[in-house]
């Protein structure tokens, strides 16, 4: 929250990485493209396509992207849409740092291909607050000290929001079980469980 905003940094590391990734994606797409015709028939693909065009509703806003079919939702969010709140931890479906909601369900964006999401609604941690007003789960994480380094926190929060909606915040034991897909290497689990419990009790 106290971070310097992007423009003050000039050419930021983030901006540089985004540009490089786009170039890499383009190069890869070219290498794998059998023919321009295949790309043209892409859309919600029927024939085998090497470029896929998808329209996602991300945090309420429609975004249309042309993507190499290897691009995960995680990379599409971070590298193409500049939504870097969603973190890349293991990139192997083992840590939960990349948790987002697709059609209201929590999923791992690192194992979700963006190509398959045409027409779907995606919510990331950036989509939780209403303007300056934090989501109740975000507030609870601050109040309960539910983090140390903060890297896993966006995934923890997205998981917690879904868990409360699923009705799994009934006890600390249940919270621990249904938060088990979100690993915290700092070991801030007591604060995380307290935050989820507090937010769940507030409804």
């Amino acid at each position: 929250m106290e971070q310097a905003s992007e423009p003050e940094r000039g050419v930021s590391r983030r901006g540089f990485l985004a540009t490089s990734a786009a170039a890499a994606a383009l190069a890869a797409g070219t290498a794998g493209a059998p023919s321009p015709a295949a790309a043209a028939t892409a859309g919600p693909a029927r024939a085998g396509a090497s470029v896929v065009r998808v329209t996602l509703r991300v945090n309420g806003r429609e975004r249309t992207l042309s993507l190499d079919p290897r691009v995960t939702l995680l990379d599409a969010l971070r590298e193409r849409l500049d939504l870097t709140g969603t973190k890349k931890g293991c990139d192997r479906g083992q840590c939960g740092a990349c948790t987002v909601h697709v059609e209201g369900r929590r999923v791992l964006s690192c194992l979700t291909l963006a190509a398959g999401l045409d027409g779907k609604a995606v919510t990331t941690v950036e989509g939780l607050a209403r303007g300056d007003e934090l989501h109740p789960v975000q507030r609870a994480f601050l109040e309960c000290d539910g983090l140390q380094c903060g890297f896993c926190t966006p995934g923890q929060i997205m998981s917690a929001v879904a868990l409360i909606r699923e009705g799994h915040a009934g006890s600390e034991e249940e919270i621990r079980e249904f938060m088990s897909g979100n690993i915290c290497r700092c070991g801030a689990y007591p604060g995380i469980v307290a935050a989820v419990k507090a937010a769940g009790e507030r409804g």
Binding site: A28, G29, A31, G32, P34, A38, P44, A45, R46, A47, G48, A49, S50, V52, D68, P69, R70, T72, D91, R92, G93, G96, T99, R105, R106, V107, L108, C110, L111, T112, L113, A115, G116, S159, A162, L163, E166, H168, R176, E177, F178, S180, G181, N182
Partner: protein, 325 residues
């Protein structure tokens, strides 16, 4: 990640027509995307089947039928599953994490690949990944590996919890290919590694799992899935037991017992079932029956604890079921 083309067919017929050499079906993606990133799997064409109408949980002619594309989380909570077949619901809920259960499908779960570290590492030899290259697990790190059904070529454990519960319930998988439809008992669907560990199941090229069915078993209401693991959650099994008991007047009339975490495929335990049949529902009788759970086991250097752990896992499941009213 190697390049591939992508298509999302809308019908089973279309999917089967598009399938061919070098193609892979994509459902929840939790196995395929992971292994494509590792380059353990290198499909040239990815066929996204999530639009196919292979959904629904229903009872037909007494049998429970689950569409192959139903998600694990939804099946676990379905009233036709959770009440009549607790062993299925528990096996699902003790698998993976809530996020993965929201993604992964029933068909995909049954086709997930082993977690053997040598299989997942393309720098290692592995007979399953590169036939004939050797098996470092037999002499290397093998704590998580199988003790039943292993061969000189492979000791990789089958990782699915759901498959263990389904094998205990005598389930079948229903398959579709361009040649038509057929059904295979799940217990026969999985193959022992033998000298060809790369061949894991009875699927023919391009064949698709369309649904899973579980025959009626009224007493499966008294069933459970006990999973022993290194962490309390979000971990693969060291050992597990799927058990159903037909218990009347303190006597076991019939039993179903299968084990996970120990076999190269889900491991039904008919000798334990036979020993339980007619036995009193008491700890000493349970221990006597469970003594046969690891018959034929061939432990490796790091998993010699598994036979005893498996026997105790079976006893724990039996005691828990006997204690239920």
């Amino acid at each position: 990640m190697r390049p591939y083309t992508y298509a999302a067919p809308g019908t089973v017929r279309e999917a089967l027509a598009l399938a061919g050499d070098g193609s892979a079906y994509l459902a929840g993606g939790t196995t395929l995307v992971d292994l494509v990133k590792l380059e353990v799997m290198t499909p040239e064409h990815v066929l996204d089947i999530t639009r196919l109408p292979l959904r629904g949980v229903a009872v037909r002619d007494g049998a429970l039928r689950i569409g192959a594309l139903e998600r694990m989380a939804d099946v676990a909570e379905h009233p036709l599953v959770a009440g009549p077949y607790p062993v299925l619901a528990e096996a699902l809920l003790r698998s993976a994490s809530p996020q993965i259960r929201n993604m992964a499908t029933i068909g995909g779960n049954l086709l997930q690949r082993t977690r053997c570290g040598y299989f997942r590492d393309t720098a290692s030899a592995c007979n399953k990944r590169v036939p004939g290259s050797g098996c470092p697990a037999l002499t290397g790190e093998n704590r998580m590996h199988a003790i039943l059904g292993t061969s000189d070529a492979c000791a990789a454990t089958h990782p699915s919890d759901l498959a263990v519960a389904l094998v205990a319930l005598d389930a079948s998988v229903h398959l579709a290919s361009r040649d038509g439809e057929r059904s295979v008992k799940l217990a026969d669907f999985y193959l022992l590694p033998g000298g060809t560990p790369e061949k894991e199941n009875a699927l023919r090229p391009g064949e698709l799992i369309t649904s899973v069915s579980v025959p009626a078993l009224a007493w499966a209401e008294r069933s459970t899935y006990v999973k022993v693991r290194d962490r309390s959650s979000y971990e693969f099994a060291l050992t597990s037991a799927a058990v159903a008991l037909d218990l009347r007047d303190g006597v076991v009339r019939a039993a179903r017992v299968a084990a996970g975490g120990v076999g190269t495929r889900p491991w039904r335990l008919p000798a334990v079932e036979a020993a339980l049949t007619g036995a009193p529902a008491r700890e000493d009788a349970f221990e006597a029956a469970a003594a046969k759970a690891a018959d034929g086991a061939r432990p490796l250097a790091h998993n010699a604890f598994k036979p005893e752990l498996l026997r105790r896992t079976v006893v724990r499941a039996l005691l828990e079921l006997a204690g239920r009213s």
